[in-house]
């Protein structure tokens, strides 16, 4: 590739021989690219992975999971849990009924009933509760709950709420009896306000989701093509005929690389668009909320993100193609590529938890991580142009290096006829 770039530079400078070499290589690259892309379009499996799967999975992931979570929360908040009450405290129980925080029930073995999930919590009241309260002593009540059951955890919160309200009412009565204003117990009252705009909140949501999905689909989108175009050619017995034709190994690899890259970038675009559409229009509809998400990306940001995603996908495509060239069969190629998938997705998941790396220049020259941190900066609107340039140049360098590796492998007898 470096030779080709040099030849192009010399050609542009007027060197006829270099010009004709560049034109010839360009025609070969085009021929390989067109053929590989045509075959990919006729392969239902790659189309399914590239377009259909991301288009369907993204709305499910971005809306389906929050929807299920919200449904559970809604159920918990609208139903009144049954709490077993052991002991007598008429005023407290009366407050439970009137506040509708929970429904007190009586049961013989309350702990067993809790374990069997017949009740969601147990409130244990000491025998002389009313007397102790009347004598202004401190009363200890017990709450039993099951931490492994979210509904029980919610019921516990309601019992705690009731005890707190009851305590406040008792305190207020005692203070009034002593001619003290209950408000005197709260000399400072806090009034809080969130200054983040809708766009910033959406940016944070996107920053936590997008890098992960871009990483995932940059690998998955091109995987079947990368496997098919090298290891698949070995298995079908078409590689030898291809290598016997005049095109240089450089031209063959570049044509194949560009078609894998097209699939990879295509899948990333489908994923990002499907996610934005589902968040923007599906969010208020599916989640029954009045909260609108401003998930539009400014054109400039979207363009820069696409450029960074293309460079990242280029590295992934070239590495996948190299592994496929090295593999003896498509099965072996898949075995080589699977760890690459995890090596990419895990850093994407880690990025929100290592934000302190964001300030280090070294982060922006680290392959893979540099792209994820750049996406994050772009989505949060905290772009540092120096970081962006560093990430772009280093990503392009790594991608070029990986393409050179693929060319080197394609030129080795021991790799082509590896048995």
């Amino acid at each position: 590739m470096i030779r080709l770039a040099w030849s192009w530079v010399r050609g542009a400078g007027g060197n006829r021989q270099a010009q004709s070499r560049t034109q010839e290589t360009g025609a070969w690259v085009r021929a390989v690219y067109v053929k590989e892309t045509l075959e990919a379009f006729r392969d239902r499996r790659s189309l399914l992975v590239m377009i259909v799967l991301p288009a369907f999975i993204m709305p499910v992931v971005t809306l389906g999971i929050p929807y299920l979570e919200q449904r559970q929360q809604h159920q918990i908040s609208t139903t009144t849990p049954e709490v077993a009450v052991v002991g007598q405290a008429p005023s407290l129980i009366h407050m439970a009924y009137t506040s509708k925080l929970f429904t007190p029930v009586h049961t013989t073995d309350a702990t067993k009933a809790l374990r069997e999930r017949r009740v969601l919590a147990v409130l244990k009241i000491p025998a002389n509760f009313q007397n102790l309260v009347a004598r202004e002593a401190q009363v200890h009540v017990g709450v039993l709950y099951d931490a492994s059951n979210p509904e029980s955890v919610a019921a516990r919160a309601r019992v705690v709420d009731l005890i707190s309200r009851y305590s406040q009412a008792v305190v207020a009565r005692r203070l009034i009896a002593r001619h003290i204003n209950p408000k005197d117990l709260l000399p400072v009252v806090m009034d809080e306000r969130n200054v983040a705009t809708q766009r910033q909140l959406s940016g944070m949501l996107l920053a936590s989701l997008l890098p992960f999905f871009i990483a995932m689909w940059a690998v998955v989108g091109g995987m079947s093509l990368a496997v098919d175009e090298a290891a698949g050619e070995k298995e079908r017995g078409t590689l030898e005929s291809l290598l016997l034709a005049p095109p240089s190994r450089e031209a063959l690899v570049l044509g194949k690389f560009l078609s894998v890259l097209t699939a990879s970038v295509g899948a990333v675009i489908v994923v990002v668009v499907a996610m934005m559409v589902s968040l923007r229009w599906g969010y208020p509809y599916v989640l029954h909320t009045s909260q609108k998400l401003d998930v539009s990306l400014p054109v400039g940001t979207a363009g820069v993100m696409l450029a960074v995603a293309v460079l990242f996908a280029a590295l992934m495509s070239a590495v996948q193609l190299s592994l496929s060239i090295y593999a003896k069969s498509p099965r072996e190629a898949n075995q080589f590529i699977t760890p690459l998938y995890f090596l990419t997705v895990i850093p994407a998941l880690a990025v929100p938890y290592i934000t302190e790396w964001q300030q280090s220049v070294g982060t922006y020259v680290m392959p893979v991580l540099n792209s994820f941190f750049t996406f994050r900066e772009l989505l949060l609107g905290t772009v540092n142009w120096g970081h962006l340039m560093l990430a772009a140049v280093s990503s392009a360098f790594y991608a070029a290096l990986a393409v050179e590796w693929a060319i080197m492998l394609m030129s080795r007898e021991s790799v082509i006829f590896r048995t």
């Binding site: 010839e24 025609a27 070969w28 021929a31 390989v32 053929k35 045509l38 075959e39 006729r42 392969d43 079908r236 017995g237 078409t238 030898e240 005929s241 291809l242 290598l243 016997l244 034709a245 005049p246 095109p247 240089s248 007898e413 082509i416 006829f417």
Partner: protein, 244 residues
Amino acid sequence: MRLLVEARNLQKHFRSYHAVRGVSFSCYAGEVFGLLGPNGAGKTTTIRLLTTILRPTSGTARIAGHDVVRQPAEVRRSIGVLPENAGVYGRLTGREAIRYAGRLYGLAPDALERRIVEIADALELTEHLDRLTDTFSKGMKQKINVARALIHDPPVVFLDEPTSGLDVISARSVRDFVLRFKAEGRCVILSTHMMEEAERLCDRVAIIAGGRIRAEGDLAALKAETGKDLEEIFMTMVEQSVVR
């Protein structure tokens, strides 16, 4: 006659394995030269050395006047190759598969389309040209590979076990192409382990065993010299190579 293939003391090592141990022969335009030998004798490696896909450890070869090591690009433009067990691109039609080969050989679009029609006609492929090759029989797939190998009208043709795995009718059809190539003045190098095929098609043969040529020459002369038929000569040579 024009000398088109000239191999001189070709050798190839794969780590400790010495696959080809000094193969030399020549082949001329309008001639069918047979490389005869059992499986693993070194026939395919010899063809791969001559077609530039492998680089010889030592020795030289010239194809149509071009050196296989120093001028691989020129050699590739002068040869058409049908590798052993060659496959097809199943999701391309016959026409697309042949067109792809033509583009790789740099044929101009108009000339390429004319050549596809001409070659499909010669190989009786015309009515199947626009079907996906996945739906083709093995014999039809082999015809597509022959068409791909000849799209640029090369003077030298290498056929590595071209009838292997084909039914009787398809094998006969491939043998007819070989004779046609010869009639067209091409130089054909044919590797086979089938005596009958060699006797029917080859003007001269080289018997390869253990990476070496054990006997070489005109079929009639070989028979006259040894007083044996080709199969007996072949067996004798192979047995001798095992003893050595």
